[in-house]
């Protein structure tokens, strides 16, 4: 029944229409504006549900495709579609957006209109990044989404907001400009080899680049993705941005924006530059492991809860990267599900930290202690999120970390051993933090009068927590939807990496792995 509905375009343009509506609302009507925004984001979420439920997980090809001419003079198209790799990312975005709006209901008091417009534009941009199947279109979404985020950090952020916002913007932009050059190069190279110019991802991925080109292109794409992830040593913008951003900004940053980096590796680097990907695997794996351990260690010594959660992101994203670069079914699926998990559990942690901050106007661990008795509901949610974040079985984090470690173990036992220590450190810093904040004696006078969560705040946390439990006990619907795409991706990488010298230029791709599965399989 949804066959004729351009769902993906709706997901992009509804938030934009919402932004327009909000910007036309009179400035005093903040309630109306908030309601409008919440309504629009909820509607977007509802519209995105058919993506999940009518997704055909046995098909490799992109689904819900839309294709229109955009710039015929340059042969750039407006081409959208989802596969098992982008599906959950889109849903994660549409799922978190209304919650974030609801969470910042009373949080933002100055220039509410600008804030809500930025949020809606951000949602449109993020969805666009995950569904764009045209290199130029992808780049446009990738960049344009920086602007609202920049404003969210810079206008509604904390003390050092300007520094954080400018650093965020320049870091990400610097990475992606080289990607633009690489995109142009691919465009003309494809034109030279095949005689037609196109930015269409589906066509371009048919092309196998010579090995030496792959290295440079991988680096140009990879730099912008690595900065976004953020991989050690490109992570320094992240703690600043996270800490200075308002709660909603941190949630979106952690929940969705960081995933754009790992998504970029999956979507572009692996299939387009398979040889370079394999070649850079040791480097990226080691950097990922450094990220895991370094992030955990730095998190451990943070006196500020928000900063602690921010550094834990560096560690968690290290797991995702490690999983991706195992090129095994388990590792990749683990990485993908971990992308969702991190969005949920770290998102929840940021939300809870924000709620604490709203009550106490401090985020220093030392200022808390013994809150458990005072705030039982908040403590419960906090505990679930903490446990999910450290990967307790039965909650979402376990599934992802387990799969990643399994995949890593199959390919490199040493990596797995080092990465596993990250899990232990995570347990240490998270539980230690939780203990210092929630347990012990309630010895600060200011903490005695704190009120527990309001209905609105509970409404924000319940869906996230429910999802964490759902994925924890029944991950199959989520893993199942990515299986075919991940399988295809791994086969593509191995198959094409082997072919690079026989056929510079065009190498069959889709047919290659559907009809006759090549021998190279993961784990050998």
């Amino acid at each position: 029944m949804f066959d004729n509905l351009p769902i993906l375009s709706l997901l992009i343009f509804l938030p934009l229409a919402g932004a327009l509506l909000v910007s036309l609302t009179p400035r005093q009507q903040t309630g109306l504006m908030r309601g409008l925004t919440l309504g629009v984001t909820l509607l977007v979420f509802v519209i995105s549900l058919p993506l999940f439920f009518s997704f055909d997980s046995s098909r490799i090809a992109f689904q819900f495709e839309e294709r229109l001419e955009w710039i015929p003079a340059m042969r750039a198209t407006y081409h959208l579609g989802v596969d098992g790799i982008s599906l959950l990312m889109v849903l994660l975005t549409t799922f978190l957006s209304p919650l974030v709006i609801l969470s910042s209901w009373n949080d933002i008091k100055t220039s509410v209109k600008g804030y809500l417009v930025s949020m809606l534009m951000l949602e449109a941009g993020m969805i666009g990044v995950f569904v764009a199947l045209d290199l130029l279109l992808f780049y446009v979404f990738w960049e344009v989404m920086l602007i609202p985020m920049y404003f969210i950090i810079g206008v509604w952020g904390g003390q050092r907001k300007i520094y954080a916002a400018v650093k965020f913007f320049i870091y990400t932009m610097v990475g992606s400009l080289l990607m633009l050059v690489a995109i142009l190069f691919i465009y003309f190279y494809y034109g030279k080899v095949t005689g037609t110019l196109t930015f269409d991802y589906v066509q371009i991925r048919e092309l196998l680049f010579p090995e030496n080109y792959q290295v440079w292109l991988f680096l140009a794409f990879g730099l912008s993705f690595a900065i976004k992830v953020p991989m050690f040593p490109f992570h320094t913008w992240l703690p600043d941005a996270h800490v200075e951003a308002p709660t909603a900004g941190s949630v979106i940053l952690a929940g969705v924006l960081l995933k754009m980096g790992t998504y970029g590796f999956l979507r572009f680097c692996l299939p387009l530059f398979p040889n370079a990907s394999l070649q850079f695997t040791p480097l990226l794996s080691v950097l990922a492991i450094i990220g895991i351990i370094y992030g955990a260690w730095v998190a451990m010594v943070q006196p500020d809860v928000k900063k602690l959660v921010a550094y834990s992101s560096v560690s968690h994203l290290g797991f995702v990267m490690l999983g991706i670069f195992t090129f095994t079914q388990q590792g990749l699926q683990g990485g993908l599900i971990q992308m969702v998990n991190h969005g949920l559990s770290t998102g929840a942690l940021f939300l809870i930290v924000g709620m604490l901050y709203e009550r106490r106007h401090t985020r220093a661990i030392a200022d808390f202690g013994g809150l458990a008795r005072q705030l039982p509901i908040l403590t419960t949610f906090f505990m679930i999120a903490t446990l999910a974040s450290i990967g307790l079985p039965g909650l979402n984090g376990f599934v992802g970390e387990f799969l990643v470690l399994l995949g890593t173990f199959l390919t490199n036992k040493v990596y797995a051993a080092f990465a596993a220590t990250g899990v232990i450190f995570a347990a240490v810093y998270m539980l230690w933090m939780f203990q210092r904040v929630m347990f012990g004696k309630l010895d600060k006078e200011e903490n005695r009068n704190l009120v527990d969560l309001s209905k609105r705040e509970i409404a924000v946390l319940v869906p996230v927590t429910a999802m964490m439990v759902l994925i924890g006990v029944w991950a199959q619907p989520f893993l199942g939807r990515m299986e075919t795409s991940v399988d295809a991706l791994i086969r593509t990488v191995h198959y094409r990496a082997a072919k690079v010298n026989d056929a510079p230029g065009l190498a069959p791709l889709d047919l290659g792995w559907t009809k006759e599965p090549p021998a190279a399989v993961a784990g050998e």
Partner: protein
């Protein structure tokens, strides 16, 4: 074939230019007869005239006719540029209504000079002969010398006018000398003759022609404000009335590029590695000098001046690419640049009602909270100048760079991209000041009444900036058509 045209046919083909000349004279007469006439009325008359000029340019869009014994060529290229110049002049006019308020400036003369400058631009884009080119350039320059110094009581304005005049005269000298040498080696100053002579005898190797072209390149370098010939630009832009600075940065730059393209394409300069290398270096120096010096500006007009220098470098990349994509990219860039740069100067004009202009970055502190419309518009222009997607600036940079990649200038593109990164910092700086800092001064100074004319100009500029950035398809096709007509 020129001689077979009747007078009325000539008038028809030459109509855009003729219309402007008539309107210019009309404005002078009206100003003389009715000295107390409202600025708005006069502006409406001029805008009406501009409308007619655009109408005629679109009417005989796809003609290709030589007029006046081959001195002038009316083709898609010149008609397209005519539209661009008129857009720039129209926006400038809308801005000037505000700038002229409460000043003792002579309105009708001011308007008439803008119109005559536009006529000069039209001649430059339509010239098929180096002397017409020179004539157009001088008409444009002399008008601008006067306009730059129009705020007679302001010493910076006088300085701007004087500086611009002296250096402009030098530049004209170079250009004229170059023309003379080219005439000497080809035996004619017609661009067609030049193209034919080059094709027939490979004249590019002769020292005389090379020297001529080099001298012309220097002359153009001055006019476009390429480094190292850029030194006048910041002072002149700073001192000139804001709308005029906008006009110089967009219209006159576009005209110089139009003429440069004609000369480059006729002489086949860019088919030679030496010339490509020279311009390669010029482009890189220009971008780098512009961007790096702009980093340290706290006067917004000077910042825009340096940014304008940097942009000339980017545009030059399209000329160097020397392919169809490159030429159309140059046109695309110039139109985008017209919208975003006039827009940016427009915001400055919008906020400076009196002769004391608000040009210090500190004056823009917290602007978003006092005048959100102006601040949002300025932010859009800044993002566009920085080349961030969904704005015209991104598309034009993308277009120029892709032309260069196509011709194999990968390193030039990478240097251009690095320059874009540098520029990001100061463009963001303006946004930071407007949106992220609280104003220390009270909001009183900026409590202006509504200014419909400038507001309209800003809306047009915002619309153009976004339109060219989001749905560039039709424009790109049109410009490719233009580029094809001249190549």
């Amino acid at each position: 074939m020129t001689d077979t045209l009747t007078l009325s046919q000539i008038a028809y083909h030459f109509a855009p230019t003729l219309t402007l000349v008539v309107v210019g004279l009309l404005v002078l007469i009206l100003g003389m007869l009715f000295p107390r006439m409202y600025r708005e009325t006069l502006a409406a008359v001029v805008l009406f005239g501009f409308g007619i000029a655009v109408f005629y340019a679109v009417q005989n869009w796809s003609e290709s006719v030589r007029l006046f014994h081959g001195m002038i060529i009316v083709d898609k290229f010149s008609n397209g540029f005519a539209c661009l110049f008129v857009i720039a002049a129209g926006l400038t006019l809308l801005l000037s209504i505000n700038a002229l308020e409460n000043t003792s400036l002579l309105v009708s003369e001011f308007f008439a000079l803008i119109i005559f400058a536009t006529v000069g631009m039209l001649l430059m884009a339509a010239s098929a002969h180096l002397l017409t080119l020179f004539l157009g350039l001088e008409l444009l320059s002399v008008s601008l010398y006067i306009l730059a110094g129009f705020r007679r009581n302001d010493k910076y304005s006088i300085e701007a006018s004087f500086k611009y005049f002296l250096l402009g005269a030098f530049a004209s000298g170079f250009l004229l000398y170059g023309i003379a040498l080219i005439y000497g080696s080809v035996g004619s100053a017609s661009l067609t003759a030049l193209a034919e002579a080059v094709k027939a005898r490979d004249l590019l190797d002769t020292p005389l022609l090379t020297a001529g072209l080099a001298l012309m390149a220097v002359g153009f370098g001055f006019k476009i404000a390429l480094a190292p010939f850029h030194a006048w630009a910041p002072d002149v832009y700073q001192g000139a009335p804001t709308p005029i600075a906008a006009f110089m940065a967009t219209g006159s730059k576009a005209a110089a590029f139009a003429a440069l393209l004609r000369v480059v394409l006729a002489s086949g300069m860019m088919t030679q590695a030496v010339w490509q290398q020279i311009f390669w270096v010029l482009a890189v120096i220009t971008m780098t000098v512009g961007n790096i010096v702009a980093l340290r500006q706290d006067n917004i007009k000077r910042l825009l001046a340096y940014s304008s220098i940097a942009h000339a470098g980017y545009i030059l990349v399209g000329v160097i690419a020397n392919n169809e994509l490159g030429s159309s990219a140059v046109l695309y860039y110039l139109l985008s640049y017209t919208f975003m740069n006039i827009g940016a100067f427009g915001v400055v004009a919008f906020l400076s009602k009196t002769e004391d202009e608000l040009v210090n970055l500190n004056d823009y502190r917290g602007l978003a909270f006092r005048r959100p419309f102006a601040a949002v518009a300025m932010a859009i222009f800044m993002f566009s100048l920085a080349g961030i997607p969904i704005t015209a600036g991104f598309m034009s940079k993308f277009y120029v760079f892709s032309a260069a990649v196509q011709s194999g200038f990968l390193w030039l593109v990478i240097l251009g991209v690095i320059n874009s990164m540098i520029s990001l910092y100061y463009y963001l700086g303006v946004v930071v000041v407007m949106f992220m800092q609280k104003s220390e001064t009270a909001g009183e100074e900026l409590a202006l009444e509504r200014l419909p004319a400038v507001g309209l100009a800003l809306i047009i500029a915002v619309f153009g900036t976004l339109q060219l950035g989001i749905a560039p398809a039709r424009w790109m096709e049109a410009f490719q058509d233009l580029a094809r007509s001249v190549m």
